[in-house]
């Protein structure tokens, strides 16, 4: 896996479009033909080295030479690829490269990693399906004033994923076409998943305590 770059370079100077390298200028291997090439005659999974090579080449071409994908093959032969992008700026070109490979956006996971406060970092993982294999591109962002470019223009179904991410975390998705709240009621505070928000204001197990007090009291009357 490549080294992380300094937090400073993760600070996305937006807009990105003027600075990014478009995938169309980089050499591209053939996209994976649909449903072909990765199932062997016995029906078992057989991802040829070619597939791994294609993904690596596409990402390196799009997001920079240091971009490396670590692949894990499980007992059934299913592949998961893990790639930490060298910088936040690499996200858009890398996502375009995945789109060119016929990748499908499957899920977006924002989270505060272990010791997030200490390191001043947060991460967002973008999980793509490549005909059964799952490729995860992870960007590392500063904990405060985090911004990521919207992938909705590339993957239409990223829309809800990003709206949800914006309401649960303190992350700004730049260029999202419709940044309204999605699931959270308007009476709830913004970004409930940030540990920085004091938990006690709304998740302090007060309900449990009140109910159990009654259970204990009710049971005493019986005795």
């Amino acid at each position: 896996m490549s080294d992380r770059t300094s937090p400073a370079s993760d600070n996305l100077p937006l807009p990105l479009s003027t600075r990014e390298r478009g995938p169309e200028t980089s050499p591209h291997p053939d996209p994976l033909p649909e449903g072909k090439g990765i199932v062997d005659a016995g029906g078992g999974r057989l991802y040829p080295d070619q597939f791994i090579h294609n993904v690596a080449a596409a990402l390196a071409g799009a997001a920079g030479e240091q971009t490396e994908v670590a692949w894990r093959r499980d007992r059934k032969g299913v592949l998961t690829g893990w790639c930490r992008l060298p910088s936040g700026v690499a996200l858009l070109p890398a996502a375009r490269a995945v789109a060119e490979l016929q990748g499908r956006l499957a899920m977006v996971t924002a989270y505060l990693p272990e010791r997030a406060q200490e390191k001043g970092e947060r991460e967002i993982a973008y999980h793509f399906d490549l005909d059964g294999a799952t490729l995860t591109l992870t960007v590392i962002l500063p904990l405060e004033w985090s911004r990521v470019p919207s992938l909705t223009p590339i993957f239409r179904n990223c829309d809800w994923q990003e709206r949800e991410l914006m309401e649960l975390y303190d992350v700004q998705v730049v260029g999202h076409p419709d940044p309204r709240r999605l699931f959270l009621d308007h009476s709830l505070p913004h970004a409930p998943f940030e540990r920085l928000v004091p938990y006690s204001t709304f998740t302090n197990a007060a309900t449990s305590k009140a109910l159990w007090d009654k259970v204990m009291a009710g049971a005493r009357e019986d005795a």
Binding site: F183, L184, T207, S208, V215, M216, G218, A219, E221
Partner: protein, 303 residues
């Protein structure tokens, strides 16, 4: 008050459902009570209605989410004043597994009066019918201006333990004699349904059946079988009795055979689980505190 009597063949009792943000388990089972002949609410002289104004009995599911609250209260307010409200599943009563979430604003009781609880997660259709029957009794008694007379538990006729042919997952049962106070059950319980209290002479376990979701995980991980799932699913009760729906047992302390500190002796079930066939030497361990146990083990001459 209405003059004519709903509940007669001419005018069935109206059932109105409100989903306050459930996992849909209770709702799908309620759908069964309108679609499947064996469980059809028709047999109780009831019928589902889509109109809040026709609600004689309101069936509420779910833990009451913040987002649904306004609409739930509006709908409930639109129902007739003399309706009977039934909390279906443990969610509305205690929040079930969703309690203490930032997005949940239950229990329901904080916002509106509840008459009957039907524990279960979800309750089987038979239990739903029992709950509706209970609501019908309350309704009748209120109309007659009398108190409902039925004694608690008199539907549990002897010889019919409520299991029918199948071992449905019902109330949990606790055997204090087998408990070793490892508290694994509390650790794995998603619903926060188990409490331990340290008392002067004992440790006491309380399991609240309005919080329990009857998953049986506590019993699965219990090393001695002190907790077990029974087939008793008839748990519907008046909401006023909600906090008395408990299973409880005391595990007494005994003095350590070595130093006299109060300890919970290891239950025979644990020794059997750990050693298969404990010998007298091992049996001695069960009445020792951890420190004395160590001392004894190290002191035992090796052969």
């Amino acid at each position: 008050m209405a003059i004519h009597e709903p509940g007669s063949a001419a005018e069935p009792v109206g059932l109105f459902r409100i989903n306050t943000g459930s996992c849909n388990g209770c709702d799908v089972e309620l759908a069964v009570t309108s679609a499947v002949a064996e469980f059809d609410v028709e047999q109780l002289g009831c019928r589902y209605t889509e109109s809040a104004h026709e609600a004689d009995i309101v069936l509420v599911t779910g833990p009451l989410t913040v987002r649904a609250r306004e609409e739930v209260l509006r709908l409930h307010a639109a129902t007739p004043r003399d309706k009977v409200t039934v909390a279906v599943g443990v969610c509305p009563v205690s929040g079930g597994v969703f309690r203490d979430s930032y997005a949940v604003d239950g229990p329901l009781e904080r916002h509106l009066p509840v008459d009957v609880n039907v524990p279960g997660c979800p309750p089987r259709p038979q239990a739903l019918l029992e709950g509706i029957r209970e609501a019908l009794e309350i309704r009748r008694a209120r109309r007659e201006g009398s108190e409902p007379t039925r004694l608690p538990g008199d539907r549990k006729q002897p010889g019919k333990p409520g299991t029918d042919n199948f071992p449905a997952r019902g109330r949990l049962s606790f055997d204090a004699a087998a408990c070793v106070d490892c508290r694994m059950c509390r650790h794995v319980c998603a619903a926060g349904a188990i409490r331990f209290e340290e008392r002067d002479e004992s440790v006491r376990l309380t399991l609240w059946h309005n919080s329990c979701v009857f998953c049986g995980l506590c019993s699965h991980y219990c090393p001695t079988g002190a907790l077990s799932v029974t087939g008793d699913w008839r748990l519907d009760h008046r909401a006023t009795d909600a906090f008395r729906q408990i299973e409880r047992g005391e595990v007494p302390y005994a003095p350590c055979a070595g130093c006299g500190e109060p300890i919970i002796p290891a239950a025979p079930q644990l020794l059997h689980a750990a050693f298969r066939r404990p010998n007298p030497e091992i049996e001695k361990l069960k009445n020792l505190c951890p420190t004395c146990r160590q001392r004894m083990s190290i002191g035992v001459p090796r052969r």
